[in-house]
Amino acid sequence: MIRLERRKEPSKFWRIANPFLAVVLTMLAGGAMFAALGKDPVAAIRLIFFDPIFSQTFGSYSRPQLLIKSAPLILIAIGLAIGFKANIWNIGAEGQYIIGALFGAGVALAFFPAPGWYIFPLMVMAGAFGGFLWAMIPAILKTRFNTNEILVSLLLVYVAERILAAMALGLMRNPDIPGFPGSRDLRRYEAAHNAELIANTGIHWGVVAALIAVIFAYVMMTRHMLGYQVQLAGQAPRAARFGGVSPARLVVICLGISGALAGLAGMFEVSGPGGQVRIEFASGYGFTAIIVAFLGRLNPFGIVLAGLLLGLTYIGGELSQMILQLPGAAIQVFQGMLLFFLLALDFQTNYRLRLTRGMRI
């Protein structure tokens, strides 16, 4: 008979090894999937995981893309991870990302075409504030009315998507090009453009912000009482109360941080790589960031690695779409599988398999 036996202490080895193992398993299963679609699995995996960085032909294009795709993922995942640790499940980051982008773009469009160094900082603040506000809806409903934050934050994504569409078609539409949805291109408005800071690296202000967020989160989680309280509340809510932690305050803080960071990510995207408010602006970073947070073990540095990896799959997905005519959805399956394998492998962290000789009388 085989049975699961709880370990006395979670295995540190498996905690770190599992994400890598999950990536390997995903490559194998993904390869099988590509083979089933009639593509060469080895070539597809190579194209997704290696070519974006190492290819001679398009590496120069795709390398900078890596940071552009990874930065919003890392920025959002850092905030989500803090909440997840406290058992506060903000899964509506996609909505906060959209609202942050709208707030940021709104500031820019309001000032257009005035020049001024202060415009971009204002946009940054507005973006963070927009995401924060949108996250405050589930936060306040939870603390005031005990409403489930998972459902509310998620449902608000659909609301945000419709606000985005309404803005792209209405208030924020570019008046100079009638008949087309979408706002002015912020990349052509110097005071609002989140430009590349170092040419051909993909480094823009969003990358810098992600880096700051990682360090900030690391210090908070390991050295500060707030981080301690977050972990306490997640693991033992009653002990947290005994330790003087106010659950309502924690809900507001965790949702607030993750909302603001998601809003920032949206703002950096709309003023840089995205360029304008469009109906198709949202590309699922808010959901992929959930995978990044888990794959990174909710640890700030782990999230950096996980964010880079999933950023890679975004680029690899685009490449394989162009070169191998692989469907774009394949990459989504890939990401979903990654999370599945990780969760499935994680039982080894807390349990061990044991063969028992059941001597029955």
Partner: protein
Amino acid sequence: MILGSINPAVLLAALMVAATPILLAAIGELVVEKAGVLNLGVEGMMIMGACIGFIVAVNTGSPLIGFLGAALGGMALSLLFALLTQALMTNQVASGLALTLFGLGLTALLGQSYVGITPPRTPKLDLGPLSDIPFLGRALFTHDIVVYLSIALVAAVWWFLKYSRAGMILRAVGENHDAAHALGYHVKRVRVLAIMFGGACAGLGGAYLSLIRVPQWTEGMTVGAGWIALALVVFASWRPWRALAGAYLFGGVVVLQLNLQAAGVKIPVEYLSMSPYLITIFVLVLISSGKARGSLNAPGSLNRPFHASN
């Protein structure tokens, strides 16, 4: 006025059609949660059902076989969830999210070549003279079989939970899994079966969208219906008939909103189409703030992992 142009009997009929997908998904999830499991993958299982149901129906030409396939598809995905949460003891919230993300991706891939096709038509059930009754006939007796099936399912679940021994065991497992185990009930077996039932129901609900309500296949076509179904279970305080009432209430909002769009009200379509989500949130707030009633009914072991220590 604009509302005057809407025929109430047609409205009522449309309401039932609009409510059926989330009702099916919600009644399944209700059973799952009564067994003490929170499966947040309803959206993923629904889209799976929508896609598999569509593919099977198009290839066989039979919508009914399509529905069967949808139920199996939803169930297959739910088995993955059962494997993770019951055998491998993973976090239920994370596993449910994974299920949704995976389901959305997988169906986008599977359904790729089916975009733009019209599925075989599901016939209306011929109820003879009943459908000739003025008003009621048009409103209640002009539907396809799945609408009636969903209502029958609600009744069956209600009876099962309230009167059958198996239903009592399921409630006991969801209420206190340690006690149920101590009495010798198989907690995990009960839960896996409940999860599979939930998957099948969500699959049916999804197929209703792609085969009857829309009827077409598009990527991500459930647009949050699974999440609304989850909210509906909370709204219903885990009571089957209240889930039915909630689903029809919700269906009413959707249909009214669509009619307002069609009637050309001077509110942009985008704002009107937000209303189902906003109403859902609003109702959640109403229910959750009435502390005593709602929480009293929540299964005691909901979302708590069970591992027999001996």
